[in-house]
C-alpha cells in the first residue's frame, strides 16, 4: 500500500516539474528562468530520495546529495553572472 502511494507521489512530482518547465521556457526575464530551474532541482532531489526508498537502494541517497550540490552551484554561478556580467574578478 505504501509503495503504491509513493509511486503516485513520484508521478505527481514529475508532472509538477514539467509544469515548472513551462515558466523556464516562457519566462519573460532571466531571473524567472533561474527560479524555475532552482525549483526543478529541488524537486528532482526529492524524487531521487523517494526512488531510493521505493526501490530499497539506499545508495541512491548519495546521488541526491550530489544533485543538490550541483543545483546550488548552478544557481549561484548563473545569478552571479546576471548581477556582475562576469564570473571571475
Amino acid at each position: 500500500m505504501l509503495e503504491m502511494g509513493i509511486w503516485l507521489i513520484l508521478i505527481a512530482l514529475a508532472i509538477l516539474s514539467f509544469a515548472s518547465l513551462y515558466r523556464s521556457i516562457k519566462g519573460p526575464s532571466v531571473a524567472d528562468r533561474i527560479i524555475a530551474i532552482n525549483v526543478i532541482s529541488t524537486k528532482v532531489t526529492v524524487m531521487i530520495l523517494l526512488i531510493s526508498i521505493v526501490l530499497n537502494q539506499t545508495g541512491y541517497m548519495d546521488v541526491a546529495l550530489i544533485y543538490a550540490l550541483v543545483g546550488f552551484i548552478t544557481t549561484l554561478s548563473v545569478s552571479k553572472y546576471l548581477a556582475k556580467g562576469k564570473l571571475y574578478e
Binding site: 500500500m1 505504501l2 502511494g5 509513493i6 507521489i9 505527481a12 512530482l13 509538477l16 509544469a19 515548472s20 513551462y22 515558466r23 526575464s29 531571473a31 524567472d32 533561474i34 527560479i35 524555475a36 532552482n38 525549483v39 529541488t42 524537486k43 532531489t45 526529492v46 530520495l49 523517494l50 531510493s52 526508498i53 539506499t58 541517497m61 548519495d62 541526491a64 546529495l65 543538490a68 550540490l69 546550488f72 544557481t75 549561484l76 545569478s79 552571479k80 546576471l82 548581477a83
Partner: protein
Amino acid sequence: MSILRDLLSLTFMAGGLFFFFVGTVGLIRLPDVLTRMHATTKCDTLGAGLIVVGVVLYLGFTLASLKALLILAFIWLTNPTAAHIIAKAVVQKDKEKL
C-alpha cells in the same frame, strides 16, 4: 504498529506534495519575479522538509535516515542563500535600468 507508521509517513509525504503544488501554482500564476520567488522558496523549504520527514519515519533509525536528514539540512542551508543572491541580482538589474 507498522501500518500506523506507514500511514503517518504517507500523510507527511502528501503534505509535502501539497506544498510543492502550491509553489508550482504560484510560480506559474503570479505576476512578478519577486512574488514568484516568494512562492517557490516556500515550496522548497516546507515541501522538501515534510517529504524528508516522511522518508525518515519510513526508514526508522538507520544510517540512511541520517543521510536523508543531511540532505534536508543542506537544502535548508542552500535554498535561502540562492534566493537571496537571485533577489540581489534582480534588484541590481532594476537599479541599472533606472
